[in-house]
């Protein structure tokens, strides 16, 4: 593995670890498991580089890996729809004290009630601000399909929040 790759990986970690973690957290609902999966995503990226392969876009690569890890996680643990008890004490560290906690939990719970692909486009587009071109790579859909998904996802979220 080249030294430049190592530096790029650590740069990617500094830039994207928090975003990848947030994606995982909103999908699986547990801080601890989200941290574990984020660790695994970066370790897999390291392994990929160590095999001599190249990564053109670390962010897109990491989101793709994380999506696959979450599928495996669901397969092994089932879908989790509530906040696990070990995270109850840590709600204060994850949520700003400036906003009422109930508001943030509302939107989080509303997201969980959406279908997987609607959840993902909401998180990637509105929360993480990814361009549609990059989202189409991550989600393996053409750009037109991504735009339609975004529109439908927002409507679905609106319905849930009523």
């Amino acid at each position: 593995m080249k030294i430049a790759d190592k530096k790029n990986l650590l740069d990617a970690y500094d830039k994207y670890a928090e975003h990848i973690y947030r994606f995982a957290y909103l999908k699986i609902g547990s801080q601890e498991n989200a941290q574990d999966l984020t660790s695994e995503a970066f370790l897999r990226c390291l392994k990929y580089l160590e095999e001599g392969k190249e990564v053109d876009n670390f962010r897109a690569f990491l989101y793709q890996v994380m999506r696959n890890l979450i599928v495996d996680f669901y397969r092994q643990n089932g879908r989790i729809s509530s906040v696990p008890i070990e995270d109850i004490n840590e709600v204060d560290s994850a949520v700003s004290l400036e906003k009422p906690i109930a508001q943030n939990i509302d939107i989080e719970n509303a997201l969980k009630r959406l279908k997987d692909d609607h959840q993902e486009v909401i998180i990637l587009y509105y929360l993480e601000g990814l361009p549609i071109a990059e989202m189409s790579v991550i989600l393996s859909k053409n750009e037109g399909a991504v735009r339609v998904s975004i529109h439908r996802a927002l409507n679905a979220l609106k319905e849930v929040l009523k």
Partner: protein
């Protein structure tokens, strides 16, 4: 609610962040792993040694020849401990072995052996007569165990058709339990500085969480494994927590603890004990899932008491 209001709510979720401690700690591990993965193969053994010594390469080259080459060097490094000059050589040799192993079952066994080796190293360092003087060595050994635990726990979360997850969970669970025993023993010996005690407590918590993760997998797959073993494991944990709760009761009853703290702690202690009693009832009924769920509730509440009691005194709290 209009679209702008919804989008504004979505953006509030940016406040969700991982713990800073985990962020920095894993970055260190990732950087270490990347460094180690560069050092593989015969030349990497040479590089690992030169990284430690930093003398002229010509002198180092002579040293390698005298010692019989990089392979002989790796053999000499086998008994090294964290903090020793040859320890990076030992890690490089292990990584090389992992990289050239193609068979997944063999690889899994190798990883298990490496995990055991890290725990044995920690045990050796702690048993050393110079342990009080050489706290940095203890911290390095604890760090190496932590890396293994984090890696093992991450693996348990991922389903891979090439890996027998139940077998991995069984092995990882036992190793995490062994690591916890070694770590607890070192805290009980009270020969560590505060900084090292905090490190050991941190690693002990990770070991506990790794063991719990492994136990969850075994309970979810009770049909594929020996449920008596799992029941005995859960029973042990219930007994240990029961003793821990008694310790906390004594601390809470201490006169130095303020009334307000004592009342809060007592309320949570009662809830924790109640959950533990329900765990025992579930275990008696062979309801392993129910027993584990109630045990986890009890443990989470006990952690709350530990934080209250811990802030009322300066002693690191052992689980």
């Amino acid at each position: 609610m209009n679209n702008n209001a919804i989008i504004s709510k979505i953006k509030e979720l940016k406040e969700i962040k991982p713990s800073q401690e985990w962020l920095f700690s894993f970055r260190e591990q990732l950087a270490d792993q990347a460094e180690i993965k560069q050092k593989t193969g015969f030349f990497s053994v040479f590089e690992a040694l030169s990284f430690q010594f930093k003398p002229a390469y010509a002198v180092l080259g002579v040293l390698v020849v005298i010692l019989g080459g990089p392979v002989a060097l790796a053999k000499m490094a086998k008994s090294s401990l964290p903090g020793d000059v040859l320890f990076p050589v030992k890690l490089a040799a292990e990584q090389f072995q992992l990289n050239i192993t193609m068979d997944q079952a063999t690889k899994t066994q190798l990883e298990a052996n490496i995990f055991s080796e890290r725990v044995n190293e920690l045990s050796s360092v702690l048993a050393s007569s110079n342990v009080t003087a050489d706290q940095s060595r203890v911290e390095k050994a604890a760090n190496e165990v932590q890396k293994q635990l984090v890696s093992a726990k991450a693996q348990l979360n991922v389903a891979d058709k090439n890996i027998d997850t139940v077998a991995v969970a069984r092995t990882v669970g036992k190793q995490a339990a062994t690591a916890q025993k070694v770590l607890r023993a070192s805290l009980s010996a009270k020969n560590s500085t505060t900084g090292v005690s905090e490190k050991i407590t941190e690693v002990s918590e990770i070991a506990d969480k790794t063991e719990m993760k492994a136990l969850e997998i075994l309970v979810n797959n009770a049909d594929k494994t020996d449920s008596k073993d799992i029941a005995a494991n859960i029973g042990d944990k219930i007994d240990k927590t029961s003793q821990t709760l008694k310790t906390y009761e004594e601390k809470v009853a201490d006169k130095s603890v303020s009334d307000k703290v004592a009342i809060n702690a007592s309320l949570i202690l009662d809830q924790s004990q109640k959950a533990l009693d329900e765990a025992k009832v579930s275990l008696d009924k062979d309801d392993l899932n129910g027993a584990l769920d109630q045990y986890k509730v009890s443990q989470a509440l006990a952690e709350g008491v530990a934080n209250i009691v811990g802030s009322a005194s300066s002693t690191p709290v052992v689980k």
